[in-house]
Symmetry: C2
Subunit: 171 residues, 2 copies
């Protein structure tokens, strides 16, 4: 016998307070990527995902992250463009943190998130528009060491969600 036993339905970690992390996605090329981000956000206890344009969450990928049974109460809002809701969140005291490979960025390894954060995720190819880059307080990026030299957008988002949760393990 090993010391470990697979537990398929282990209970989740309780949060001491609701997550004050919002995920905001620029218009993405792939609703598969968006849906993967929604599933990861659901698992992280995120309550609000903002997306744009023709975004549509695919249930088979996002799983039951959007069910009304989710104690985190995750909701996905679709806006026409990203800048107006971001400007409102900024006025509400959120720190806006872009995630992309950019000049002027900081490494995700050493970036200290504020609790009230909006993680702003760019388009797979185009990253974040200038009007959004003007709004964000910081840009973080994930060091890459080998080809293809850029993470898939949902993979990068997962890493950033993980890092935020590591810094705020209980909300």
């Amino acid at each position: 016998m090993s010391d470990f036993a697979h537990e398929r339905h282990k209970p989740p970690t309780p949060l001491d307070r609701p997550r004050e992390l919002v995920v905001a996605c620029a218009p993405v090329r792939s609703n598969v990527n968006l849906s993967r981000i929604v599933r990861a956000a659901g698992c992280c206890g995120v309550r609000r995902v903002i997306c744009c344009g023709t975004a549509k969450v695919i249930g088979a990928i996002a799983r039951d992250s959007l069910t009304p049974d989710n104690p985190a109460g995750l909701a996905v809002e679709v806006h026409r463009t990203l800048a107006p809701p971001l400007a409102r969140l900024k006025a509400d005291g959120y720190q806006l943190v872009g995630l992309e490979q950019a000049a002027g960025s900081q490494s995700l390894y050493t970036f200290a998130f504020e609790r009230k954060t909006v993680l702003v995720i760019g388009n797979e190819r185009l990253g974040l528009d200038e009007d959004v880059l003007r709004l964000v307080h910081h840009v973080v990026e994930i060091p890459v060491y080998g080809l293809p030299y850029a993470h898939n957008v949902a993979t990068a988002a997962a890493m950033a969600l993980y890092e935020y949760c590591r810094q705020y393990p209980n909300g």
Copy 2:
């Protein structure tokens, strides 16, 4: 103008030494998930991915992580079963770390990886087999806070790869 400018082809971070992280995947249900793991491993500078059974990497997803041009020199090996190559790596001094929701696991947030690590990734549904669980030194898991209460396997692998690279930012 913002302080940030998108850089689509930013140069990678150099490693001071080759990555001594190996990724080993149990037979996965989805070659899409496997290919996503290969792309993420490629970006992390991993040089060796071990997979099993009918595993097949999809080029459009893994991108050029497997090109001979990759300075990290990533290679994917397909084995019939996972235990024999894992046993050999263990004999070679690698620490074997399973990634799954399991009794007896440690949190990825606080787990200190050894440099010579094999990250062992379970099947989407079944996790890791008993013969593999008997071999691993540790099992780590990623806390989840909301539905669907389990990360996608490629998402979880991305988070663990990130955490390893955070601990060894230069190899």
